[in-house]
């Protein structure tokens, strides 16, 4: 078969294809040679641009693909796993939950407000593209050291941007995470997750079918913004990255709200054959993926694409990352219905092409063909790299002798709850509308957010988790722990964990150490997902989070979703009454390695993270969920960062907003010869543990059930009083802890930016 004739040169003069031009598109010599071989000729400028974005790390997953394939993606309740705009699970009664997480790290560093805002806009589109109404947003944030000059500016902008977009569109932002570490200086992370609900029988996919059917563009006009956003997300920052600034996009949440309502209304009419949002790499990626999935071709008339700037070239139109745009294939004869609905919502739309059977992407402008590429190679022949990787050398366990003397526990506790990582993030979530849609039944501040599935008595629990200090110490364990912690947080509110999405944030995959972290984390995640029946149904990889050779901590953020159905009972972490028994579920050996206490109080990041026993994890979590379902516990909280004492403090602190705080008194274990030091019992981060409170009368039932389930459980104290008291070791007032806990972030942000 001979290659088709090369397309005509477009009206405007275009740069000649030179080695420099190829390199500036982020393509290696081998990659370019491969393109020429595939085409049987040299690409023109537009075609080169298209290859460069399709083959970028961001779109092609060329460094991560072979490893992502190892993750488990199936379960009986999974309707759609990775590969579509978002993953889908069955939540019963003919309903489905649709969710995904995305990173917008690089744009958020360059322009925090707009970068974060457009990140939210993008993930929302991924959800409603599938026919789901978005019902909750989450955001997982990591910033550099609070002492770094730029950190405050980044926090202010990112938080305002996430709120600015989500609040305007009217989807509640119900939770997230926000932590700090100097490794994120210059590379903050903004991971945004959206959960939507759809009719399981009315889900929309992206495979373009139906030769001759109209390809319709809807939404904002195309401008020159964001050109090469995808390649920017595929290159590490050099100190001159400020020069890349013009690629920033501005979000328009008002338009997105109209596009959202128009799309959902159109979807209800059965006019849509296939639909896809225009995200990274814009019109290129959306049209190529639609045609590839459908095994068809697409012909686009670029003169008909709505543009908002004059003299846009085919290259610019194809590569623009302007926001709030959708691409769809209509069923025959439905063009008018679509037009009417888009007009009602004041959304611009245009028929810009048609589906063909050629297997090619054909671009026309000014009556000439300006690009003509085979679809399959753009996707399937994208390079796949088996990057060399180095497993990190195992760390030495912490020897007790290495530890400096412990400060008094109450003093350490006050410092911990008022530290950047553990302090209340109220300053953030009060800037997010977390109540709109009036289904938020657990607001931010708990282990997982809980939202009702509108009009039913089912609820979805949602959490995001990751402990990067474990991931850097032991990637495999860290990856597994992130999954286990998400599972645990869902169990702690009484939800049955169903599936996860992820956002894998790492440095440059071209560095074997970083690649080793990536491989370890993914393998660990897979292991935990299998052990916990908690498959991965969507996700995203963000590499090149490093500046001048300093990578971020490996940060595989996990977004977990669970379901509360049946009994409908859920738990919250606030103590409910005085004189209840406080129980610790799970085994405690006292692991301080890589703990927050060690880092923030003793000043060391050494040691190995606590071991993870996935069978115990499952046993303990199932047990706790059972207690909640039976209505046996009045409060429940998992034990995580900061260990037992911090968990107890958080349960007492959560009582403050309601009025008089409820304190707690516990008895530390009697010192035995071989027992861990007290600090290890109080602050160690042993996994698979929960604290619950229950009326004394129910304790025998709980203990018996624990014995039957082979789950360690011990009564450690009682609720009551206005302090956290450690028998024989002092007490601290809850009001004082509250001040420390609530104070840090607002005080920090009050300083000039």
């Amino acid at each position: 078969m001979s290659a088709p004739a090369a397309p005509a040169a477009p009206a405007q003069a275009e740069p000649a294809i030179t080695a420099e031009l190829v390199a500036s598109h982020g393509l290696s010599d081998e990659e370019y040679a491969r393109i020429e071989a595939l085409l049987g000729r040299a690409p023109n400028f537009t075609e080169l641009g298209i290859f460069s974005v399709m083959w970028s790390e961001h779109c092609s997953y060329k460094s991560s693909r072979i490893w992502l394939k190892t993750l488990p993606t199936e379960a009986p309740w999974v309707i759609c796993g990775p590969g579509e705009n978002a993953g889908i699970i069955d939540i019963g009664d003919g309903q489905a939950a649709v969710f995904k997480m995305e990173s917008h790290n690089h744009p958020s560093y360059i322009e925090p407000y707009q970068g974060a805002a457009t990140g939210v806009g993008g993930i929302l589109r991924d959800i409603f593209t599938m026919g789901a109404r978005p019902i909750a947003n989450m955001n997982a944030l990591r910033f550099g050291s609070p002492d770094e000059a730029k950190t405050r500016h980044l926090i202010a902008g990112v938080v305002a941007g996430i709120g600015g977009y989500g609040n305007c569109i009217g989807v509640p932002t119900v939770g997230g995470a926000c932590e700090f570490h100097a490794a994120y200086d210059g590379n903050n992370l903004v991971n945004a997750m959206t959960v939507g609900v759809a009719d399981a029988g009315r889900i929309f996919y992206s495979a373009a079918a139906g030769v001759g059917h109209s390809v319709v563009y809807a939404g904002s006009g195309t401008g020159r913004d964001g050109i090469h956003g995808a390649t920017m997300a595929s290159a590490e920052f050099a100190s001159d990255s400020e020069a890349k600034r013009p690629t920033v996009q501005v979000g328009d949440p008002f338009t997105e709200k109209l596009v959202l309502e128009a799309c959902l209304e159109l979807m209800a009419t059965d006019a849509i054959e296939a639909i896809q949002d225009m995200g990274a790499a814009g019109l290129t990626c959306s049209s190529v993926e639609m045609a590839d999935k459908g095994g068809t071709g697409i012909e686009l008339d670029l003169d008909r694409v709505p543009v908002r700037e004059t003299d846009m070239t085919p290259y610019e139109i194809m590569l623009s990352e302007s926001q709030e745009r959708m691409l769809m294939v209509l069923k025959p004869g439905r063009e008018e219905v679509a037009q009417r609905i888009f007009d009602k919502w004041q959304v611009d739309s245009a028929i810009i092409g048609r589906v063909t059977d050629s297997g090619r992407l054909v671009l026309k402008a000014g009556n000439a063909v300006v690009g003509d590429l085979p679809i399959r190679p753009l996707v399937d022949e994208a390079p796949v790299y088996e990057r060399p990787y180095l497993e990190p050398a195992p760390r030495a366990p912490l020897a007790p002798a290495d530890l400096p003397a412990d400060p008094p526990p109450m003093q350490a506790l006050a410092r911990l709850v008022g530290s950047p990582d553990l302090c209340s993030k109220r300053w953030i979530w009060e800037q997010y509308d977390h109540m709109v849609m009036t289904d938020t039944v657990q607001r931010p501040g708990g282990d997982a957010a809980v939202v009702r599935v509108h009009g039913t008595d089912k609820r979805l629990a949602i959490t995001t988790d990751c402990t990067p200090r474990y991931c850097v110490a032991d990637p495999k364990l860290g990856g597994a722990q992130a999954v286990a912690e998400a599972w645990r947080n869902l169990s702690a509110v009484g939800a049955k964990p169903l599936a996860i999405t992820d956002c894998l944030n790492f440095g440059s995959p071209e560095h074997p150490e970083v690649m080793g972290q990536f491989v370890g984390c993914v393998l660990g995640m897979g292991e935990a997902c299998r052990a916990l029946d908690f498959p991965v149904i969507s996700g995203n990889v963000s590499f090149y989070n490093e500046t001048n050779g300093h990578p971020i901590l490996p940060t595989p953020t996990i977004g977990g979703v669970g379901l509360i159905a049946g009994s409908g009972r859920m738990a919250t972490l606030a103590f409910k009454a005085a004189d209840e028994t406080v129980l610790l579920i799970g085994a405690t050996e006292g692991h301080l390695g890589a703990s927050l206490y060690l880092r923030d109080i003793l000043g060391s990041e050494a040691g190995v993270p606590p071991p993870l026993d996935l069978a115990a994890e499952r046993r303990n979590g199932d047990f706790v969920r059972g207690l909640i379902e039976r209505g046996l516990v009045s409060a429940c909280h998992d034990v995580a960062d900061g260990g037992l004492l911090v968990a107890l403090a958080e349960m007492a602190l959560a009582t403050c907003p309601a009025g008089e705080p409820i304190g707690v008194r516990i008895a530390p274990p009697a010192p035995a010869d071989d027992a861990a030091p007290l600090a290890a019992w109080l602050f160690g981060e042993d996994q698979a543990r929960y604290v619950v409170s229950a009326p004394a009368a129910d304790v025998p039932t709980i203990m018996a059930a624990a014995r039957a389930a082979d789950v360690p459980a011990q009564a450690i104290g009682h609720t009551g009083g206005d302090a956290l008291t450690l028998d024989g070791r002092g007490a601290i007032s809850i009001t004082e802890l509250h001040r420390a806990h609530e104070g840090w972030l607002p005080d920090y942000m009050a300083a000039p930016i």
């Binding site: 949440p253 008002f254 004041q346 997010y432 109540m435 849609m437 009036t438 607001r443």
Partner: protein, 229 residues
């Protein structure tokens, strides 16, 4: 009793208020698209919260010119009760139904949280479920909720008992720390001259369901519905 909720491009609490009203009324209110130039027969008109036109230019400014608003203003003049919540309040001031306007929060940040409100005047369709001086709890969620009017206007509002709610501490005291947005004289809601139009920044529909953490909003909506038959 019949109610109508006007929906503008960018409204996003229209469904919330519909759900809460339906719970009180036993049947759904009519949802009226902003482009309609006639309103159905209604005993109550609600302007819901959200971000009409993205809050671009000035919040409420563009929605105030919607065809449906001409009709709302005419009905309000004729005595039909209008409940304007959050963005609805902003629209009502821009449309001249209520005096003053809502500026950026003093913090310049969006704020979403439960606040305490002191009921300033209970002799109205909207507030007679409460006692004057009673403290109730409702959420706010806005970036432009900082009420402003000139001194003469404020004095007149006070003299005529047209201040419906003020932000306060749980104990009912006025304090800077209890004012979430810097509103002048801690104003959270005001009436028109006949107390048939109420504009308020807090969202009664968000605490109209025990599972959401409170029912002060339900008390209010139930009473309005009962009074209107």
């Amino acid at each position: 009793m019949k109610a109508a909720v006007v929906v503008f491009p960018g409204s996003n609490c229209d469904r919330d208020v519909r759900v809460a009203l339906e719970a009180s009324m036993g049947r759904p209110p009519a949802m009226v698209w902003h482009a309609e130039s006639t309103l159905p027969e209604s005993d109550l008109i609600v302007l819901p919260g959200g971000f009409s036109y993205g809050d671009y230019l000035r919040s409420g400014a563009m929605a105030a010119h919607a065809p449906a608003m001409r009709e709302v203003v005419a009905r309000a003049k004729a005595g039909v009760p209008v409940l304007a919540i959050c963005n609805g309040f902003q629209i009502a001031t821009e449309a001249g139904l209520l005096p003053g306007l809502l500026m950026s929060n003093a913090s310049l940040r969006f704020v979403c949280k439960d606040v305490h409100l002191r009921v300033e005047h209970s002799q109205s369709l909207f507030t007679d479920c409460f006692r004057a001086g009673q403290v109730v709890r409702m959420p706010v969620a806005h970036r432009d909720g900082n009420y402003f009017a000139e001194a003469e206007v404020l004095d007149a509002l006070e003299d005529e008992d047209r201040i419906a709610f003020r932000y306060c501490t749980p104990a009912g005291e006025l304090a800077d720390g209890a004012n979430p947005n810097g509103s002048i004289r801690s104003i959270a809601g005001i009436f028109n001259e006949t107390r048939t139009v109420l504009g308020m920044m807090p969202h009664p529909e968000r605490l109209a369901d025990a599972e959401l953490g409170g029912e002060d909003g339900k008390t209010m909506l139930d009473r309005i519905v009962a009074a209107l038959g």
